[in-house]
């Protein structure tokens, strides 16, 4: 398992294991923590409070930070406890403590490919018109974040963590508490959904113009 985990470290972690000064945490990890909280709690105010509680708790305990994991993973670990407190306060079960199983069927995936016809695409993807121009347009970023918002939470979580925040393979598995195989399946499903969503909400309109 160790070798597999090491191999999926396809890119270096953006944070050092040495740790930075507490004053820099907000700049370095604030948005990542916020995304993590928001994609679970689905409430901006609650997510902001959770980031604050997490950083304050980290401040009190940062001498305990052993440097076994990256600083971000450590902070997300604290955030997870804060999230558990959050659900407890609301008197609700945490909605996603059992991570998405790779064996679990995803209806979208079932629908995308035609099992009766050799698992071909039902609607074959075709090239997008001028994708590079999209990156220059403010509206495109709105469409993209709108699409990320529509992902089921486990997928959104995995995708945001790995792709937006650059927490790679083994670290991401630790944070999300999933196996590498499950992580790959979640990322794949997220990509299938995002490409479909962007096609509908962005590229379909581009080609008509």
């Amino acid at each position: 398992m160790g070798a597999v985990l090491r191999r999926i470290h396809s890119r270096p972690l953006p944070v050092t294991t040495q740790g930075t000064a507490p004053e820099a945490w907000l700049d370095m990890h604030g948005d990542a923590l916020f995304r993590y909280a928001l994609l679970r709690a689905h409430d901006r105010d609650a997510a902001e409070d959770l980031v604050q509680d997490t950083l304050l708790a980290a401040l009190r305990s940062h001498r305990d930070f052993a440097g076994h994991s990256s600083e971000r993973t450590w902070l997300i670990g604290i955030l997870k406890h804060k999230l558990a407190d959050h659900w407890r306060r609301l008197g609700r079960e945490a909605p996603l403590e059992t991570p998405l199983d790779a064996a679990e069927t995803d209806e979208l995936l079932e629908h995308l490919f035609d099992a009766e016809n050799g698992d071909h695409w039902r609607t074959p993807p075709s090239p997008w018109p001028d994708p590079d121009t999209a990156l220059e347009q403010q509206q495109f970023w709105k469409a993209l974040s709108g699409c990320i918002d529509t992902l089921p939470s486990a997928q959104a979580q995995a995708f945001a963590l790995c792709e937006i925040d650059g927490v790679a393979g083994a670290e991401a598995c630790k944070v999300l508490d999933v196996s590498p195989t499950n992580l790959w399946v979640m990322l794949h499903r997220a990509r299938l959904r995002l490409r479909q969503c962007l096609e509908i909400h962005w590229f379909a309109n581009v080609s008509k113009e």
Partner: protein, 83 residues
């Protein structure tokens, strides 16, 4: 020969891990003859570029970032509580 469903999964995994040489060859063979999967591969790569840039944008739309207000409030709180 891989199906499109299997191919799309490999395309995706090629972004997340190193494929075994067998997988790489099977993938290449399929992509050679399948335009739909080639489009998917391009789009998956585009998604990665877009999303990484999205994460780095200082003036990105706020939905997935801390608002300026929240940021200032938290910074103040951290300063006050600094031991």
């Amino acid at each position: 020969m891989l199906s499109c469903k299997e191919t799309s999964l490999l395309v995706s995994q090629s972004l997340d891990r190193r494929l075994a040489w067998r997988e790489r060859i099977a993938l290449r063979m399929h992509l050679l003859v399948c335009g739909a999967c080639r489009s998917f591969a391009d789009q998956a790569a585009f998604l990665r570029t877009a999303v990484r840039r999205f994460g780095r944008r200082a003036n990105a739309p706020e939905p997935l970032r801390l608002s300026q207000d929240a940021r200032e409030r938290i910074a103040r709180e951290l300063r006050d509580k600094q031991p």
